[in-house]
């Protein structure tokens, strides 16, 4: 592990809403090529951590680097899947058009997407099994299909690091398996994947790396070594094993 490259390096990061810290002095290194879950209770700052890394919210202190450089210089290396509920699915557009948005970053300002971008988008839709729905209006998609569209959009960004905010929320079991298989493939291809995750039961099965977060960082490391009762209890503030076995 020592000679492994660091994909994401976070130092002393503090983020706040209205001067109330929601993330407190976070130090975190994410090694290249891991499939990492961020777990923690509601309000632990999991989404905020991703948003702060991506510059969507401005941290009040600390720094983030992607492969050694600030995020603003490395945008094209990073793909982002926001929470499904963060957008208006009644927006007048098709599934294909949403996936095409994944190519906007590499296009930059003003330049319009063309055939090349369309091809990338169609390929990404195929990977998530959504090609048949490419012309479907997005409000006509089921929750699982919407999540797949978002995943396809991230694939169209063709990045080295993927950040996903609760990609399993509100999807059925089939879609969950389809998504996790794609994430595992990304890891196999050497990509780094960071996922805000809620379901503790599936952590050992899905992920090889985990970060426990509750306003402060509790622990980070390989699932095999640190996914234990001690850390769960520290993060969730209850004796986790007892609570689960009740």
């Amino acid at each position: 592990m020592d000679n492994q490259k660091i994909a994401v390096q976070i130092d002393d990061l503090t983020a706040a809403y209205n001067y109330k810290p929601v993330l407190w002095d976070i130090d975190l290194s994410v090694p290249e090529g891991v499939l990492m879950a961020i777990v923690g209770p509601n309000g632990a700052g999991k989404s905020t951590l991703i948003k702060a890394i991506l510059g969507i919210i401005k941290p009040i202190a600390g720094s983030v680097s992607i492969y050694g450089k600030p995020y603003s210089k490395q945008r094209k290396m990073v793909a982002y899947v926001p929470q499904k509920g963060s957008v208006d699915w009644d927006f007048p557009t098709t599934a294909l058009d949403v996936v095409m948005m994944g190519t906007y970053g590499s296009l930059g300002w003003i330049k319009r997407p063309g055939q090349k971008e369309k091809k990338i988008a169609l390929e990404s839709m195929e990977k998530v099994g959504m090609l048949a729905f490419k012309n479907r209006q997005i409000s006509q998609l089921s929750g699982g299909q919407q999540q797949r569209v978002f995943l396809a959009r991230a694939l169209a960004q063709d990045a080295a690091i993927y950040f996903m905010d609760e990609p399993f929320q509100g999807v059925d079991a089939t879609t969950e398996i389809a998504i996790i298989n794609i994430l595992k493939e990304l890891r196999k291809a050497g990509k780094t994947v960071v996922v805000v995750h809620h379901d503790l039961q599936t952590v050992p099965e899905y992920f090889d790396w985990v970060t426990f977060l509750n306003v402060k960082k509790i622990a980070t490391g390989p699932v095999k070594e640190i996914f234990n009762d001690d850390n769960l209890t520290k993060t969730y503030g209850i004796n986790y094993k007892v609570a689960v076995n009740k």
Binding site: R75, G105, I110
Partner: protein, 386 residues
């Protein structure tokens, strides 16, 4: 038609089209109320600009007043960010204050200023042809035509240049920010263009009706299409059509032109709201009724599927078993029979081959909620169209 009449109609069409474009994005961003706030809050900007320039069509006045519009947005966001009040309250706090400052400025200087509160609220399109754009003695047409024409051109150019950016920042501000298309820049860009358009249109249609020109075409188009480009096209069309028909309604009734245009917009919206093929009220009600019948149909088929014993399937006892009213039972039975899903022999109802497949597929859909298997059935039944 004489030439002032033609000029008025051209100005009306251009004003309506210039308002329709930012209107689409305001509606999609759920910021319709902001246009109301801007249209009122620019009044002090216009009055002060008028003191400085003495010309309602001066570009300097337009920029000064548009700045007041942007300041309104900043103030609303500032108040909202304190977390003490919600956005609608913040809007309600900011714009009346700015508007009333404008009203006081007008009434204090009523003798020096060629503006009255009526004209501010409702505009006066009929006077637009009197203010001519003269260059070295040549008449180049009404000034407001030039002003609004330029604004429309700028708006269209910006729309074409930044269509992709407007789309992604409106749909998904998080992604937009992450890929470096700053939603804040897009937001203030849109607010600036909206403010400039409102100021330019203000003279012609007034503070209240400019809101109708921004919001109504977009809201109407939204009911008719699921494609952003078509939505913009339809908004432009509705704006232009209302402008011309509104003008002629005013002509016939001898009434306010801007009032007639806004009324026409309202009437068009009402018609579309009622009759739009997918999202219209009538089609929604019809679909709900169909869905209700189809749910009943499936309930009925499942019942038949579950019971082999003839007593459960006897036509005279069915009603008691499923506990339905006669009319509903009759409709469902007819629907099932018409679609060859059931057959009735000696008053005993049984599923046909087709009915059996249909029931099994429905059941599978209800259990798995998987879309692929149901796709072909969607053509025939509303129920599965989500």
């Amino acid at each position: 038609m004489n030439s002032p009449q033609i000029e008025i109609q051209i100005i009306a069409v251009i004003v309506a089209m210039a308002c329709a474009i930012p209107g689409v994005f305001l509606v999609l961003r759920k910021m319709a109320l902001i246009s109301d706030a801007i249209s009122h809050a620019i009044l002090p900007g216009i009055v002060i600009g008028f003191f400085v320039t003495q010309d309602l069509n001066s570009p300097l006045l337009i920029l000064l007043a548009a700045l007041t519009g942007v300041i309104t947005v900043v103030l609303v966001e500032f108040i909202q960010k304190t977390g003490l009040v919600k956005e609608d309250t913040a809007i309600g706090l900011v714009f009346p204050v700015l508007f009333s400052i404008g009203v006081i400025l007008i009434s204090k200087n009523a003798n020096d200023i060629h503006l009255d509160v009526d004209a501010v609220l409702l505009g006066e399109l009929a006077f637009a042809p009197f203010d001519r754009f003269m260059v070295e003695g040549t008449d180049l047409g009404p000034k407001s035509l030039w002003v609004m024409g330029s604004i429309l051109l700028i708006t269209i150019s910006l729309l074409l240049l930044f269509f992709k950016e407007l789309k992604v920042s409106t749909f998904d501000a998080g992604l937009s920010s992450a890929i470096g298309i700053s939603p804040i820049v897009m937001h203030y860009g849109l607010m600036s263009i909206s403010s400039i358009t409102v100021v330019g249109a203000f003279d012609a249609v007034g503070a209240i009706l400019v809101v109708a020109l921004m919001i109504a075409p977009a809201a109407t188009a939204y009911l008719l299409t699921e494609d952003l480009k078509k939505m913009i096209g339809l908004s432009l069309l509705f704006g232009a059509v209302s402008a011309i028909s509104g003008y002629w309604v005013a002509n016939v009734l001898d009434a306010s032109i801007s009032g007639s245009i806004a009324t026409t917009l309202g009437v068009i919206f009402l018609i579309v709201y009622l009759f739009a093929p997918k999202k219209g009220l009538i089609s929604v009600l019809y679909r709900q009724k169909q869905q209700k019948i189809e749910v009943s149909l499936i309930t009925f088929l499942l019942h038949l599927n579950r019971h082999d014993e003839e007593s459960e399937r006897h036509i005279n006892h069915l009603r008691e078993h499923i506990n339905w009213q006669e009319v509903q039972a009759r409709t469902v039975l007819n629907l099932a029979e018409k679609n060859n899903l059931i057959e009735i022999k000696n008053s005993v109802v049984s599923l046909t081959e087709k009915g059996l497949t249909f029931t099994e597929k429905s059941l599978e859909y209800i259990v798995n909620n998987k879309d692929e298997k149901i796709e072909p059935m969607k053509e025939d039944f509303f129920l599965f169209r989500g």
